[in-house]
């Protein structure tokens, strides 16, 4: 690996970390679309900042563009608060307006500015190592590393310092307010960090892909854990993984690095969405299927318990009595047999002691809604896992 390659991967990883942290809270606050709005509407801020500083990597330009991001949030909230349009409509109104101002500004001044719309939308990570930071003639590495590195350090410091405040205000805004933590301060703090991060990442991955880096890792982590700290760590790791895999995919395909990173993110998300242990699609479908079968099982057991007469319990006449098809009857009978809940004697089905107990406990649970009786059954039956 050349040092430029290492630098590019380092920048990609730092961008992924910086995005994953505010992204996690945006996802939990159901504000994922706000990141889309911010990433587009910082464009006029960037362009104006560039006119003033004439340096794409100036900290002033980053702050100025970040302010545009916060203004976007304020504008969206203002329009929404009037009650005339809903939040998603407000977002859809604000960011295209600001973005298009940026596009016009670029087009009008295209001759003086080495900014083009392609770079704005997609970023150009491959060129990042060319822009060096040197002090007194000593090369300190790519400027981007220092910029995005600083953002990562600030974001991590704020996260660790205000973790408790972020958590409580995200989970229960009203409680946070009554405990003396102004949700407004935390909200705008988070929006500021999201804006600064977006601007910092913008140069590397562009306006469209920065959204993916904020939302996809957090969405993956959400499906994989029930713990906020772990969710943050998983989101960061997922971001880093997609940055590194994406880089090498781009390398071998000779394609855009940012594009490859996002494709990898999408693919990783698909895997998690399908295969996550308890919240994944396959797991959910399996659980629903099991629950359905268990409801039938319980119905069947209740029928047996309610009827002592043999005619109701003849194996060939089940269909007539509970109005089930042959296949379904067979599935349920087999399941009951497998669990030793019934015995079949001379084609007549009877409940075993275990079957009696199961049925009684299930009835108790359903009628009293008391969970004590079924705690032990949760291990064997999905039906009682809520």
């Amino acid at each position: 690996m050349s040092s430029a390659q290492i630098e590019i991967q380092l920048i990609a990883c730092l961008v992924a970390i910086a995005c994953a942290i505010p992204g996690t809270f945006l996802v939990l606050r159901k504000m994922a679309m706000i990141s889309d709005a911010i990433s587009h509407s910082i464009l006029p801020g960037l362009v104006i900042g560039f006119f003033i500083t004439e340096d794409l990597n100036s900290p002033w330009l980053i702050l100025l563009a970040a302010v545009t991001g916060v203004i976007t949030v304020i504008m969206v909230e203002f329009i929404q608060k009037t009650g005339l349009v809903k939040e998603d409509t407000a977002i859809g109104l604000v960011f295209p307006a600001l973005f298009s101002i940026g596009v016009i500004l670029i087009a009008k001044n295209a001759n003086d500015v080495h900014l083009d719309v392609d770079a704005v939308l997609l970023g150009e990570l491959a060129f990042a190592p060319f822009d060096r930071l040197s002090v007194n003639g000593v090369d300190l590495g790519a400027k981007s590393i220092w910029i995005i590195g600083t953002i990562v350090v600030i974001t991590l410091t704020l996260l660790i310092t205000f973790f408790k405040e972020l958590k409580v205000s995200t989970f229960d805004k009203q409680l946070a307010a009554t405990l003396g933590f102004s949700p407004l301060v935390i909200h705008y703090g988070l929006m500021s960090i999201a804006s600064v991060t977006t601007v910092g990442a913008f140069d590397a991955v562009g306006a469209i892909l920065v959204v993916a880096l904020m939302i996809a890792p957090a969405a993956m982590a959400y499906l994989l854990t029930n713990d906020l700290k772990k969710m943050l760590i998983i989101a960061i790791l997922a971001g880093i993984a997609s940055a590194l895999i994406g880089y090498w995919v781009a390398h071998y395909l000779d394609a855009s690095i940012a594009g490859s990173m996002t494709t990898v993110l999408g693919f990783l998300f698909l895997l998690v969405y399908l295969f996550a242990p308890s919240k994944g699609l396959i797991s959910v479908l399996y659980r629903q299927k099991r629950q359905q079968v268990e409801v039938y099982l319980l119905t069947f057991m209740l029928h047996l318990q309610n009827h002592s007469e043999e005619s109701e319990r003849h194996i060939n006449h089940l269909g007539e009595h509970i109005n089930w098809g042959k296949m379904q009857s067979k599935t349920v009978v087999d399941l009951a047999l497998k669990n030793n809940m019934i015995v079949i004697d001379n084609n007549i089905i009877s409940l075993t002691e275990k079957g009696q107990g199961f049925t009684q406990k299930a009835i108790d649970y359903i009628t009293t809604n008391s969970t004590v009786a079924i705690e032990e059954m949760k291990d064997d039956f999905f039906l009682f896992r809520g």
Partner: protein, 245 residues
Amino acid sequence: METKYAITVDDLTVAYNYKPVLWDIDLAIPEGVLMAIVGPNGAGKSTLIKSILGIIKPIAGSVKIFGKPYKKQFKEVAYVPQKGSVDWDFPTTALDVVMMGTYGSLGWIKRPGQKEKKAALEALEKVGMLSFKSRQISQLSGGQQQRIFLARALVQNASIYLMDEPFQGVDATTEKAIINILKELRKAGKTLIVVHHDLQTVPEYFDWVTFLNVKKIATGPVKDIFNDGNLTKTYGINYKVSVQE
């Protein structure tokens, strides 16, 4: 002897989009009562609680907690919001939610430690939820979630408890458990204000009641004012409740 008031509300008016939801409310809640706020849907019961807590800004009037504004007294007040006001899919455990009750006394930045964890575990035990401490909150039943919210208020160790429909959608066992804890708190000298829906249980559960329907209809001891006249005035229809002696 002069009665000490936990909460005094003066000429409070709250409006949403210029439509008054609370109109010129005067209310003095004596210290140490277990008070129900009753009234029909849209009467402003939750709004009254939120205004006391400073979550909603009134367009007129003021609220004092032990004679001072809420901002200076927030450590004296614990709030149990409606269960539906939060997202129970949030990635956290029962214990962690209860720990949040300790955040107020910690203030900004400082983190909860062993002392706070111990208090949270004790509160969980009090509401009978200790064995569920590591359970993810979405895996709890409605009644259990309500107990967690109560435990979170208990660790705040406040003087005043404001609760928004704590009996909403809970099973009978939980309701009994919660009311027993509330009565215990009152015995310990705490003031409790509860938005309540089930008129039948008012005389059994509470010793003080406020009738509210945008305007304050009446407030006072249950045995003096919980009668058909006030119920009719509040609910607008002829009300008959058999009050057990």
